[in-house]
């Protein structure tokens, strides 16, 4: 039995009166890659943004139900602590444009004012960039601005920035949708590496990607969690007719 790291119970999310995530209960097991897929507007991104409490930053947004991290309700914790434990990578690469590559990786410590010795900082930067498979490409240009990198490299820089904080869970919101196929495949390879140390939750509207990288897949439709199962099982033998229709491309 795998141990569960994040789980939601009857979880609902709203934008004003608009009910976008409806009664979702799911368990996310440790050291797995969970793909969350579904057509546009199905609430998958909103659900993801509820896990590290980014959803509530939007004016008028609210949630209801339980979201647990190790059996502790995330919504009773300080959101800053939650976000230190649950990192996030966004749809478009968003390195800090005013910082160098080095400072971008260390940004979570530096901007928060956590004190580190130069040796510790160097170690974190090298370690994180290596885990993000970017070290070899940037080790000679660490003090150049991060925005000079290509899109795929910028996205890996954002991954390095997130894992530098040693989070337990890494949320990825369509991390490759703004990237070319070569960068996409290098990020997908990276996900396999990352799963040894982290739990990954990936939102994607690309079914092939869900099938390629994930251990478990959740299918969202119109705000509901329709089906949640092992990826292989879900793609070979979907239980729900809506899942089947989606997978076979009858609607998108």
């Amino acid at each position: 039995m795998e141990s569960t790291i994040v789980s939601s119970r009857n979880f609902n999310a709203y934008f004003g009166t608009n009910h976008v995530v409806k009664n979702v209960s799911m368990d996310i097991p440790k050291n797995n890659i969970i793909a969350v897929m579904g057509p546009s507007g199905c609430g998958k991104t909103t659900y993801l943004r509820c896990i590290n409490r980014m959803h509530e930053l939007i004016p008028g947004a609210s949630v209801q139900g339980e979201m647990l991290l190790h059996d502790e309700d995330l919504y009773s914790l300080n959101p800053i602590l939650v976000r230190l434990k649950i990192g996030m990578v966004f749809q478009r690469p968003n390195p800090f444009p005013n910082l160098s590559i080095y400072d971008n990786v260390i940004a979570g410590y530096k901007l928060n004012g956590f004190k580190l010795s130069k040796k510790e900082r160097d170690e974190i930067v090298e370690h994180s960039l290596q885990k993000a498979a970017l070290w070899n490409e940037v080790k000679d240009t660490l003090h150049k601005k991060g925005t000079f990198l290509s899109g795929g490299q910028q996205q890996r820089l954002c991954i390095a920035r997130a894992i530098a904080m040693e989070p337990e869970v890494l949320l990825m919101d369509e991390p490759t949708s703004a990237l070319d196929p070569i960068s996409t495949s290098s990020i997908e390879e990276l996900m396999h590496e990352l799963k040894k140390n982290y739990t990954l939750v990936i939102v994607t509207h690309n079914m092939q990607q869900a099938a390629r990288v994930s251990d478990k897949t959740a299918f969202f439709f119109l705000g509901e969690l329709v089906e949640y199962n092992d990826t292989r099982e879900m793609f070979i033998n979907p239980k729900d007719s809506r899942t089947q229709n989606y997978i076979t491309g009858r609607f998108s």
């Binding site: 590290n52 980014m54 930053l57 004016p59 800053i80 602590l81 976000r83 230190l84 990192g87 996030m88 966004f90 478009r92 968003n94 390195p95 800090f96 444009p97 005013n98 940004a107 979570g108 901007l111 928060n112 004012g113 601005k145 925005t147 954002c158 920035r161 997130a162 904080m165």
Partner: protein, 286 residues
């Protein structure tokens, strides 16, 4: 419609295009003439008055040679510096609030107030400060002049900060928050540094704008024929010196006014150039 007719129409249209191009070019050239004429004239009359002692001496009594504008130069720098120190923190903070709370009720009223302040004639700001600061204190002072100028800087700093920060993508703020940064640190260490070129150029332009203001200083800083650095005393500034000496009947004083005009012009041009440099140098590429 036959083909020949269409052909003629197109020919006519091309001719009209050419004609409007010529008109636009002539007008663009014409509007540069007043500026060039002013600069040329001030240079011609002012340049011969410039010397080291012109910058380091204070004005001499009528009939004596070797007067300078040191008192006005020091005064202008001090008053503008003090105004900048007062206006910049308020301006940037207000601009941050407006860009962060676009639809708040307070933002609506605040924006309206900023617009009205921007349109308020400078003489009106001067008289208000006269009644609020000068009269209660019982005397003219450089400090009251700085407050009047700070009020004139505020709308420019606020608006340029707001407009700059509005252009930054929301994902930048989310990147900071997702790393566990508290909101105030996201503002201080991510949002403001990323907008620094726009904010600074607003500050520079506002300094250029107030450097030549005369009206609000007439009954606040008042003017002073001697050199002083005490901001609680009346103080001379370049625009006040120009105003007083240009309207006097003495040739020596007219010379001083011309020299001071040139210095003021150089100041304003330098500020504009620095602004351009800042925007180029510190612009963050998103």
């Amino acid at each position: 419609m036959n083909r020949k007719n269409i052909h003629n129409q197109i020919k006519y249209r091309i001719a009209r295009n050419k004609a409007s191009e010529v008109v636009i070019t002539i007008y663009s050239f014409l509007i540069t003439i007043p500026l060039i004429a002013i600069i040329f004239y001030v240079l011609k009359t002012g340049l011969s008055k410039l010397s080291w002692q012109f910058l380091t001496n204070i004005p001499q009594p009528v009939g004596e040679l070797g007067g300078g504008i040191a008192n006005a130069l020091v005064g202008s720098i001090l008053i503008v510096l003090l105004a900048t120190i007062i206006a910049v923190p308020f301006g940037i903070l207000c601009g941050v609030y407006l860009s962060e709370n676009k639809n708040a009720k307070l933002s609506y009223w605040s924006r309206l107030a900023v617009d009205v302040l921007q349109g308020t004639p400078s003489i009106v700001i001067g008289i208000v400060i006269y009644f609020w600061v000068v009269k209660p204190r019982g005397g003219f002072s450089a400090f009251s002049g700085s407050i009047a100028l700070a009020l004139m800087m505020l709308p420019i700093v606020i608006r340029s900060t707001e407009e700059t920060l509005k252009l930054l993508p929301d994902t930048l703020k989310e990147a900071g928050l997702a790393l566990g940064l508290p909101y105030h640190k996201v503002i201080l260490k991510v949002i403001i540094p990323c907008g620094v070129s726009g904010i600074l150029s607003g500050v520079m332009l506002s300094i250029a704008r107030i450097a030549g203001e005369t009206a609000p200083l007439l009954f606040t800083a008042f003017g002073n024929p001697y050199l002083t650095t005490n901001v609680l005393k009346p103080m001379q500034t370049l625009p006040l010196l120009i105003f007083n000496y240009a309207t006097s009947p003495y040739d020596e004083w007219h010379d001083l006014a011309w020299g001071a005009s040139l210095i003021l012009l150089i100041w304003v041009l330098a500020m504009n150039l620095i602004t351009k440099l800042i925007t180029r140098r510190w612009k963050v590429q998103l």
